[in-house]
């Protein structure tokens, strides 16, 4: 591993040596060459270390390594005007933080490398790259370190813009999986056409069209002994068409995706990957968005229907018990609900339900996808108006409703528990009856004086735990209220106090929470927050325990250091609409991030 790292560094340094040979006579130029090299080099370093402690309240830390760190070093070097090259070295020492992908299993390893050539018309990359087609429904390669998500593609990509109104992209490669890549090849094409640059429309301000194709080529090894099994396709493709329009203050876009037929997971033993090889199933996605916005007012409506749309580089990764961190997903299917910041608002969070899962264990059930919609409204009461007061009042509201697709199973063999390999299903196109999540939230943002402002939030939610987390027959109806106030003392000193309450008769019942945060100046601050479940409930693991955090952070320029001591509630942790389960833990966390 050491040698690879050295090799890469050598490659990065090579161009400088070439330059310096040309100018080796003068020491002055050597210095400037060094400066020139440094000017063209950028990068970042991030390390997140955690020291897991035993906890009298929640128990001993059961695993071997108490001190762990995930670290990332990224270097980019720009040279010869149009070129750049870079590496990302990652370290999980002595092993990855709790709940990260188990494929991230090296103490230090070269995780990514690339070389890129870019002009006005051409953008070509060899090595690891990121990409997104349209809204990501068909393809998205991205990185989120907080989630342990990195599904970049290793291979080649070329983006060509022959005219200002047309851009085409072609790519080929294998998707990253831990420090390695998947056992499959991805080939994908995309075209983006900006029509109103060709036909100047008097009515529309924007007419754009997008077309994409993504193909996964993966061998299938049969494990089924069923005599009726059929051949499983090596190539599974997906096709997307998109249209975006805007006229004056109104805008809309619509996208439709079709996914080729593929084999479905067999769940007789949920932690063991096997497939039902007798029948194939195709998938689809429909996304529609409509918005209107003018000064002081905005409204946006989104509808989405997903059926059998989870799409992984390797079929086996579709088993979420073995792959809780969603490694090597090809597309991006986030929950379309409001993303919350407050701790108590993050207990019952919706996670999108895109996949086809016939669950033939415990309570048998067929899940084929989701359908739902949400609407957002933003409004500002003007300064000086009755509700606006001296500084104006900002109000935003969101209403979201999500249902599971309604499916009818047909089983020619009549075997109980949905365990037949010949099972097929039919789904309703527009049926919102099987509600699995709904939420209404209202946020009022009010500045009272030059130095004092406050935010009030109200959330009312319904969470179908039975469907979403397999909690037999359970559901949660809850409301959450949050009030926060910030006072500025001047010269960067400020105090923020936040109080939260979650009320429900279900699950672990009521919670009380709060935060106090004080900034000494714009660089240095400390905080304490706590969530406490104060009512007796059958959910003992969360009852009468303080889930607290206390810590501080220091920021200077591009460097940020934070230290935190606290107890983390087990459950789903969601960032950017993607969630992963985390186990309860207590410990000290040190985060360091800098860029140069």
């Amino acid at each position: 591993m050491k040698s690879t790292t050295k090799l890469v560094l050598a490659c990065l340094l090579l161009p400088t040596f070439l330059f310096s040979q040309e100018e080796q006579d003068s020491t002055a130029t050597e210095t400037s060459t060094f400066n020139k090299f440094m000017d063209n080099l950028t990068g970042s370093f991030e390390s997140n270390a955690q020291w897991y402690l035993n906890d009298k309240e929640t128990g001993r830390f059961e695993e071997d390594e108490h001190l762990r760190a995930n670290s990332y070093l990224k270097l980019n070097y720009y040279f010869l005007n149009n070129f750049s090259a870079g590496v990302q070295v990652e370290s999980y020492a002595p092993q990855a933080l709790l709940n990260y992908d188990k494929e991230l299993n090296k103490e230090v390893g070269l995780a990514e490398y690339y070389i890129n050539y870019r002009t006005d018309k051409v953008d070509a990359t060899l090595g690891h790259f990121y990409e997104q087609f349209g809204s990501g429904l068909i393809l998205r390669a991205w990185e989120d370190r907080a989630l342990g998500m990195n599904n970049s593609i290793r291979g080649g990509k070329i983006k060509y813009t022959p005219f200002s109104f047309l851009q085409v992209t072609g790519l080929y490669g294998s998707q990253r999986r831990g420090f390695d890549v998947s056992d499959s090849e991805i080939m994908a094409f995309n075209a983006e056409l900006n029509i109103n640059e060709i036909v100047k429309s008097n009515f529309f301000d924007q007419i754009s069209l997008g077309l994409s194709y993504v193909n996964r080529n993966e061998d299938f090894t049969s494990t089924s002994t069923n005599t009726e099994k059929i051949e499983i396709p090596k190539n599974v493709g997906a096709y997307s068409a998109r249209l975006g329009l805007s006229f004056k203050d109104i805008y809309t876009n619509v996208e439709y995706v079709m996914k080729d037929k593929d084999v479905r997971l067999n769940n007789i033993q949920p932690n063991k990957v096997s497939f039902s090889e007798n029948k194939l199933f195709d998938g689809s996605a429909l996304l529609f968005n409509l918005g209107y916005s003018a000064r002081g007012f905005g409204v946006n409506y989104t509808f989405r229907r997903l059926e059998n749309m989870s799409f992984y580089s390797q079929r086996e990764d579709k088993n979420l018990i073995n792959n809780p961190t969603n490694r090597a997903t090809l597309n991006y299917l986030p929950a379309l609900t409001k993303q919350h910041d407050y701790t108590l608002a993050n207990i019952y969070i919706y996670q999108a339900q895109p996949g086809l899962y016939i669950e033939n264990y415990e309570s048998p059930r067929a899940k084929a996808g989701e359908i739902g919609n949400q609407i957002d409204v933003f409004y500002k009461f003007k300064r000086g108006s009755l509700l606006g007061g001296k500084y104006g009042t900002k109000v935003s509201a969101n209403l979201a409703y999500w249902a599971a697709l309604n499916v009818k199973i047909s089983d020619p063999d009549g075997i109980p528990y949905f365990s037949s390999d010949n099972l097929t299903y039919e789904s309703d196109f527009l049926n919102f009856d099987n509600k699995i999540y709904s939420e209404f939230n209202l946020e009022v943002n009010k500045k009272w004086t030059k130095n004092f402002s406050s935010i009030f939030t109200f959330i009312d939610l319904h969470y179908n735990s039975d469907y979403l987390v397999e909690a037999n027959g359970a559901k949660v109806d809850a409301w959450i209220g949050v009030a926060e106030g910030t006072y500025k003392f001047g010269k960067g000193k400020s105090l923020r106090v936040e109080a939260q309450h979650l009320s429900t008769d279900d699950d672990a019942r009521n919670w009380l929470g709060g935060t106090v945060e004080y900034f000494f100046n714009s660089n240095f601050g400390v905080y304490l927050n706590d969530s406490y479940n104060y009512e007796d409930s059958p959910i003992e693991e969360n009852s009468k325990i303080h889930f607290f955090n206390l810590g501080g952070s220091f920021t200077k320029g591009a460097t940020r250091v934070s230290l935190n001591y606290g107890r983390q509630r087990g459950g789903l942790i969601c960032v950017g609409g993607v969630c992963r389960p985390v186990s309860k833990n207590t410990g000290v966390t040190l985060n360091l991030a800098t860029s140069f």
């Binding site: 990121y130 900006n194 805007s246 993303q339 601050g525 920021t555």
Partner: protein, 183 residues
């Protein structure tokens, strides 16, 4: 008091893992320290990264900074409360800042497809006066080596001259002091 709740783990084991961690940090820290000490902000090339306008046209920050000598760039997201607080706070004084320094603010949203449709109504709902651009797959965020948002930059004549991450109430005053150095 809180520390009393905890039984300290085996010290020998801690030492072992601490040493291991430090060993690995040593390997990379040399490079990092070398970088930090020998250069300031040399990320101006990142400004050329392709991003989109609200109408879906491709553009870049360098296109924007070519037209304006003094620019504040803010990387933000609709789900990031401190980001919105910063942009709200600046909006209150933006007119004064523009009169005195001729500065333009460009707010680049890093919202991905989950939340990007909220950008336009939110900006209008908040009555912000900024130029809004979209970095939907975070290409610019990566090119700027950004760990967290908000990230605030001052760009003078196409060069990044100041960089700050995070927002605390009142930090806009410090930003303005910094801005005045670059008129």
């Amino acid at each position: 008091m809180l520390l009393n709740l905890i039984i300290l783990p085996n010290i020998a084991q801690l030492n072992k893992s601490l040493l291991q961690y430090l060993k690995i940090m040593k390997k990379i820290s040399l490079i990092v320290i070398l970088m930090i000490t020998s250069l300031s902000f040399s990320q101006s090339q990142a400004l050329e990264t392709s991003i989109k306008t609200l109408k879906g046209e491709t553009t870049s920050l360098s296109e924007f900074t070519a037209k304006n000598d003094l620019v504040i760039v803010s990387l933000w997201a609709t789900w990031c409360v401190p980001c919105k607080n910063e942009l709200d706070a600046i909006n209150e004084v933006y007119q004064d800042w523009q009169d005195e320094t001729n500065v333009k603010l460009v707010a680049v949203s890093i919202d991905d497809s989950r939340t990007v449709n909220r950008v336009k109504p939110l900006v209008n709902g908040k009555d912000w006066d900024y130029t809004i651009l979209l970095d939907t797959n975070n290409d610019l965020k990566r090119a700027l080596n950004t760990a967290t948002v908000p990230l605030t930059l001052i760009v003078k004549n196409g060069e990044i001259v100041y960089r700050h991450s995070g927002y605390t109430p009142g930090a806009e005053d410090a930003l303005y002091e910094e801005l005045k150095k670059h008129i």
